[in-house]
Amino acid sequence: MLIGLWVAWISFTQNPTEAFLFPRLISTIFLALSIWTFVAAWVKTSDVSSTISTAMWINILPGLIIGAICVFWMGKAFGFYTASTITVFSLISYYDPAPHRQISSWAKRILVTAGFIAVMYLLFAMLLGVFTPRETLFR
């Protein structure tokens, strides 16, 4: 509802009017529907039971943080291939149910990461010719 209010406020206060004609139309409906949803949630006629449990948060957060670090910092700072290597290896290592004290499981993780990054390099750098940021390695 707050986003709806914000969109409506900007649409109706900004100029020129012609440029905000369509946003005004949408924001009116957007606001009406968001108020409806808010009221429905308030009086509990709408299903709001699908909240995220603490256990789920604990599972999600490490992956989300690793992904966000890769996208918002490492990708540009280290280059896509280095950042992806670190990210894929971290994610696979963290979420792998295999015992973390086994050398064979670490070897498997390294192999999967190396194999996947090699395929990505082949696809994007060599086949598609996409020039991604390459600050540290893969110049």
């Binding site: 004609l21 299903d47 990708g75 990210t87």
Partner: protein, 499 residues
């Protein structure tokens, strides 16, 4: 009969090679639980940038067709539908596999998919030009209402809450207005420099469909991977062919239901499979065998979800209204290649559209042949653990969204939209209406502004947009789609209370 003229285009080295590649990858991706056809097509769009538009669309079309069919492999051998469209296949397919009839179930499934798919694409070939001819009568006001109808239909008929569906559509329409206004060049809703160019559709599609699935895989945590693939024993293909064509009732019901549901924008394959299964069961003389490993259940479900594919592209190509979420992603693929669907599509882009449609027809045969050949292997490849799949999809999403315009801003937008969509999905909002709002927003706004200019020179906006037979028909369709969904929701909530 224009399509015959362009048939040869599909058999060039690159086109046919891409068709084969798309089919094989589609079968494997479709068989992979957690990778929906929509996400597979969204992730594949960046790979088509370097290709000719027709070739790019052939690849995407092959992926669309084969991911839907490939979903049956994991439904039968793993009891996990590869896509929502294959839910009904699990009911009898897995039981057949448990009884040692895995090969028979797979053969029956791919043959039924072939039959349904071919009929669906033939409908696409013959219905699209007729609808396109009809849509030529549309002016800016009618085109505006068609775009709004697209958002309301997919928002209300997609299942779940009507209000939440419409709200998601509104969010999509609003997101489409971010950036510079096309006519006056005014900045709108740019609260960060990364949004100055607006929201890129492909980056948004990748984020909205791929990132929520990645987060869902994270949510499972360190889950042990204990999926067991049922071993497939050889079975005579000729016997399966006889079985499929002797079950003409299930085949007919599946194909008819799938084709009709495909034509209704926004309904999708999941409903097609389930409705066809249910109707087939009702009309069958072997009703009691359904759910206990009866081949007719597999035939009805699989012919329906593949018959849906072709017709779901009819409103997409002629009116820019996708018939399914995957068709919405295909619309993004068309736009990125400079193809703007509409009534003139066959006049403006015949060298792209006809080879694409023809490839879908040939793709059905290729899909069936490869499906029968590699189904057993596909199920084994598809057993990639979810933590590895999450890392792969996340990396593909980052590279894919970056490669659209070689811009980090697109990667940021993809990630933020994707994370936001995961939480919206948790509260019952669907990505499909949001995506459609985002895609149809510029079409709706362009026609709204153009119509407003005409209206100002005539009798005013209200008269221009709210009168005229076609306008009234379209407005009634918008109201009817919303009213029907509200009625369905009220009925189901009453039934819930009664229970």
């Amino acid at each position: 009969m224009d399509f015959i003229y362009y048939f040869g285009e599909v058999f060039t080295f690159w086109s046919f090679g891409l068709l084969l590649l798309g089919t094989i990858f589609g079968l494997i991706l479709g068989a992979t639980p957690g990778l929906s056809p929509t996400m597979a097509v969204a992730l594949a769009i960046p790979f088509t940038f370097k290709l000719e538009p027709a070739q790019g669309l052939i690849l995407l079309g092959a992926l669309y067709t084969s991911t839907v069919a490939g979903g049956a492999v994991s439904a039968i051998l793993l009891k996990i539908p590869g896509a929502p469209a294959n839910i009904a296949t699990t009911l009898d397919g897995y039981t057949m596999a448990q009884k040692g009839e895995g090969a028979r179930a797979l053969q029956v499934s791919f043959l039924a998919s072939l039959f349904g798919g071919v009929i669906g694409v033939l409908l696409l070939i013959f219905l699209t030009p007729i609808l396109a001819q009809w849509a030529l009568a549309f002016g800016p006001s009618e085109s505006f209402w068609v775009a709004i109808l697209g958002v309301t239909i997919i928002g209300t008929l997609g299942g779940g809450s009507v209000v939440k569906g419409l709200l998601a559509g509104c969010i999509g329409l609003w997101l489409s207005t971010i950036g510079f206004d096309d006519i006056l060049g005014t900045q709108r809703f740019i609260f960060h420099s990364s949004l100055s160019g607006g929201i890129n559709i492909i980056a948004a599609l990748i984020g909205l469909f791929a990132i929520p699935q990645v987060i869902s895989m994270f949510a499972r945590g360190r889950q042990a991977h204990d999926l067991e693939v049922i071993n497939v024993k050889p079975h005579s293909l000729i016997k399966s062919v006889r079985e499929v064509f002797s079950s003409f009732r299930a085949l007919g019901i599946g194909t008819t239901v799938g084709s009709i549901i495909g034509l209704i924008p926004g309904v999708g394959g999941q409903i097609a499979g389930l409705v066809a299964y249910d109707q087939s069961k009702n009309f069958s003389t072997n009703r009691k065998k359904f759910g206990k490993g009866h081949h007719e259940g597999v035939i009805a479900a699989e012919s329906a979800n593949n018959a849906m594919v072709g017709p779901s592209l009819v409103p997409l190509l002629t009116l820019s209204i996708p018939g399914s979420p995957t068709a919405a992603v295909l619309l993004g693929g068309l736009i990125i290649h400079g193809i703007f669907p509409g009534p003139n599509i066959f006049r403006d882009y015949p060298t792209v559209v006809w080879p694409f449609i023809n490839s879908m027809l040939i793709g059905q045969v290729v899909m069936c042949i490869f499906g029968l050949a590699i189904a057993g292997y596909a199920a084994r490849i598809a057993r990639v653990p979810s933590h590895i799949m999450a890392a792969i999809v996340l990396t593909l999403a980052i590279f894919g969204s970056y490669s659209v315009q070689t811009s980090m801003n697109d990667v940021y937008v993809m990630m933020i939209l994707g994370i936001g969509m995961y939480f919206l999905e948790r509260y019952g909002y669907s990505a499909a209406p949001l995506v459609l709002g985002l895609i149809l927003g510029p079409i709706a706004e362009g026609n709204f502004v153009e119509g407003s200019m005409i209206a100002n020179a005539q009798n005013g906006i209200a008269t221009y947009f709210l009168t005229g037979t076609l306008n009234l028909v379209l407005i009634l369709m918008v109201i009817a789609s919303i009213s029907y969904s509200v009625w369905l929701e009220l009925r189901s909530s009453k039934a819930g209370l009664a229970l």
